[in-house]
């Protein structure tokens, strides 16, 4: 089998038992099915990656780009659902350590690279190289993937990611040059983060997950938070997460 170098290493057929307990409740069954779906999607995503890479510099056909985009969206959603399941059922498992923010962001972006190529959007990262901060690497990566996914969806030409220290908080922002968040979301989005709006396709999962993760991050008596605004650096939407 000839494998392309752009291949994603994914989870091959590893079955993961969620619990030793024979009396599984419904949420456990949900969680283990999500796991299984995620495994399948991993295979789909890596095959799509190979296809896109096989095209060289040529832009992939629209259907392929759409496939890749939607598959990734589903995958990121499943990751968030699993993380939420764990928070609900296994208690807080925040794995906080110190990381270099630039290195971390670079890694997050690398995993988005395949999608960027199909969208023809410029992505810029502004962050000081030596800035280090404490956070849960996996959870904050999930938050950023969600925010970047949204930004890519609405951006016209550019997405800007900034990171810096403000008033003893680390502020990570994702800006785009699209039309901005709608006013309803800005007005009550954070309070009704799990309100479902089927017409727009926004289930609120992303925001719910994101604000849960932000609040879990604590230092001394300060907590993390998120902020949505319009008209910042690129004129479009701006998502920010503040970590103490």
């Amino acid at each position: 089998m000839q494998l392309s170098a752009e291949t994603m290493v994914c989870n091959y057929g590893a079955s993961v038992s969620m619990s030793d307990n024979a009396n599984m409740d419904f949420s456990t069954i949900l969680a283990s099915s999500i796991h299984d779906m995620k495994n399948s999607l991993g295979v789909v995503l890596s095959s799509l990656d190979e296809l896109v890479h096989g095209l060289g510099d040529a832009l992939p056909p629209a259907q392929l780009a759409k496939l890749q985009w939607e598959a990734k969206r589903v995958n990121d959603n499943l990751v968030q659902l699993l993380a939420l399941y764990k928070m609900e059922n296994q208690g807080v498992a925040l794995n906080v350590d110190e990381y270099f923010v630039y290195d971390f962001l670079e890694e997050v972006l690398v995993s988005e690279k395949a999608v960027l190529k199909t969208r023809n959007i410029e992505l810029e990262l502004q962050c000081e190289r030596d800035l280090a901060w404490y956070f849960d690497r996996e959870l904050i990566a999930g938050v950023l993937k969600n925010a970047i996914g949204n930004a890519l969806r609405y951006a016209r030409t550019k997405v800007l990611i900034t990171a810096g220290e403000e008033d003893h908080y680390l502020v990570l922002s994702v800006n785009d040059d699209g039309k901005g968040f709608n006013y309803r979301l800005l007005a009550d989005g954070l309070q009704n983060a799990h309100g479902v709006d089927f017409s727009s396709g926004n289930t609120g999962l992303g925001l719910y997950f994101t604000s849960r993760v932000a609040k879990l991050h604590k230092n001394k008596d300060r907590r993390g938070s998120i902020q949505l605004s319009n008209g910042q650096a690129l004129g479009g939407a701006c998502f920010s997460i503040k970590l103490p």
């Binding site: 089998m1 291949t7 994603m8 290493v9 989870n11 296994q90 996996e138």
Partner: protein, 535 residues
């Protein structure tokens, strides 16, 4: 970043052929040519034994046999994975639940699937840069040059480098290792003044623990767990602290909770099993040892006594199951004399319990034969078991001699003495046992005092020959070994250095370290020895 990945040598370990070739193709894309691959833990260990790789990429899940963590533990334990080797663990899930080895057995980083070649590259580069920077300090630590290592830490810290946190972490660990708890505590406190960093909390908790401020230690470990329910190391320390506070019940609860979250850690299951056994919670103990036997069959932490403890507990309720675990012991260990010895001893006792007298006698005879065969390297536990079997099977004299020698070799080890007393108790010889233990201890103490007196009055030659004679009788006794090392060094200071005596000092110190790790006086003597070597 200036890391030359292409010229390094790689070992890829994964049970799926597709995964191996994917990883290979990623490495090839960086220009790597030196790649070898293994499909299971056993092959990987063989390859690691033949060659030192610069980078090991290992999947946590390796199917049947060892998992990635067990492989890492074995490789480190056998010295096959030196510090210079970067070890990356590839995990299926984005959780750290598999993090459960001791600190020295952690991989250099985890990489969770899915990832692509750019992510792998970026992780590899970072790990290598990080390790290179600390290599000098680690080398000094390997040579036990603690002061030099600390000085090098300070040099680097003074330059306020990018990896300052990492250096502080390392320095504080070294300080703890050398017993300077106050200095270590100061580092942790200074970090914690600004930030509830879990690593610093854990360190501070350890400092409290070692300084015997158990209530403070308990509060710190509890706080870590409140913030992260999967911080397994904090559970282990909390349990240890609870034991120190005399709250065995809480220790049991903590360990039980930890084994639910991370059931695959054999060490934790063993801790739980032993503690539960002591507390007469035989249900919990049985379950824990069953887990230990079942999850740990490929682990370096596995020991035959997990099987025999389990068998002895089961013999009260299910003789058949007890004997089945002892056959499993034999089959898991193959032709290992020590393991067969354990099995035979336990069989003789289980069969006796079951009233199968003649079979018990036969097993006891087997045990005797094997014991003679491996009498050189028998651990205390094994010796105690054998003594117990002797007493149970009517060979009282032999049992007594063995227990006496155990007491003499460990006259200050309260735990061991208590267990010897238990053995006497279990065969109805409390009074006799008590007297034997007291006599043996008195004998050692008298000898020690005599030798110390001689040394104090400057009769070093006589002191040396007295201690040398004593140590032949009780080769593992840490007090005697330390005293003789001390007197030898006094002699060397008075009469000038000679290689033979220096070698003997080293030997006695090594015995202490092997037999009684963590002995407080050992560190002081070792420092004195280092100074003497350097002078």
């Amino acid at each position: 970043m200036g890391v030359d990945l292409a010229s390094k040598s790689y070992l890829v370990i994964d049970d799926f052929a597709d995964m191996r070739s994917m990883l290979r193709s990623m490495l090839v894309a960086y220009g790597v040519t030196n790649i070898e691959m293994a499909g299971n833990g056993k092959d990987a260990i063989k390859m690691l034994a033949k060659k030192t790789y610069d980078v090991v990429l290992c999947d946590y899940n390796l199917g049947e046999g060892k998992d990635g963590q067990q492989l890492l533990e074995e490789g480190k334990d056998k010295g096959l994975i030196p510090y210079s080797t970067a070890f990356l663990m590839i995990t299926a899930e984005n959780t750290m639940e598999m993090v459960m080895g001791a600190v020295e057995y952690l991989p250099d980083d985890y990489l969770s699937k899915p990832f692509n070649k750019d992510m792998l590259r970026s992780r590899l580069e970072k790990v290598i840069v990080r390790k290179d920077d600390l290599h000098g300090i680690v080398k000094l630590l390997k040579q036990e040059r603690i002061e030099d290592a600390l000085a090098l830490c300070d040099d680097k810290i003074a330059q306020n480098p990018r990896n300052l946190t990492e250096l502080l972490k390392l320095k504080a660990e070294v300080l703890i290792r050398s017993g300077r708890y106050t200095d270590a505590g100061a580092i942790y406190e200074s970090v914690l003044a600004k930030r509830d960093a879990p690593w610093a909390m854990l360190g501070l908790g350890k400092v409290y623990y070692y300084s015997q401020e158990y209530a403070e230690a308990k509060a710190v470990f509890q706080k870590i767990i409140d913030g992260n329910k999967t911080h397994m190391e904090a559970y282990d320390w909390l349990a240890k602290t609870a034991v120190a506070l005399g709250d065995q019940k809480q220790a049991l609860e903590v360990l039980a909770a930890a084994t639910v979250i991370s059931p695959k850690s054999i060490v934790r299951q063993m801790e739980l099993g032993n503690l539960a056994f002591k507390e007469k919670e035989f249900g919990i103990a049985t379950k824990a040892f069953k887990k230990a036997v079942n999850v740990g069959c490929n682990s370096i932490y596995q020991t035959p006594s997990n099987y025999t403890k389990l068998a002895k507990m089961l013999s009260k309720t299910s003789g058949k199951e007890a004997l089945a675990f002892l056959s499993k012991l034999r089959s898991d260990y193959g032709r290992d004399d020590q393991a067969n010895l354990h099995a035979a001893i336990a069989e003789s006792m289980v069969l006796k319990d079951l009233g199968r007298e003649s079979e018990a006698q036969k097993a006891f005879a087997d045990a005797n034969k094997l014991y003679e065969k491996c009498s050189d390297g028998v651990a205390n536990d094994t010796a105690m078991e054998m003594a117990n079997a002797c007493l149970m099977n009517g060979d009282k004299d032999r049992g007594l001699v063995m227990l006496q020698s155990l007491v003499k070799n460990n006259h200050q080890d309260e735990k061991l003495l208590a267990r010897v007393q238990d053995v006497f108790g279990s065969v109805g010889l409390e009074a006799e046992g008590q007297e034997m233990i007291e006599t043996a201890i008195r004998e050692v103490v008298n000898l020690n005092n005599k030798g110390t007196q001689l040394a104090k009055s400057g009769r070093l030659d006589e002191a040396i020959s007295l201690f040398e004679k004593a140590v032949r009788n009780m080769p593992d006794n840490s007090t005697i070994n330390m005293n003789i090392a001390n007197v030898l060094m006094m002699y060397l200071k008075a009469n000038g250095k000679n290689d033979n005596y220096l070698y003997r000092v080293r030997q006695h110190l090594e015995r202490v370290q092997r037999h009684d790790p963590g002995n407080e006086n050992y560190r002081k003597l070792n420092d004195a020895y280092e100074k003497l070597m350097a002078s």
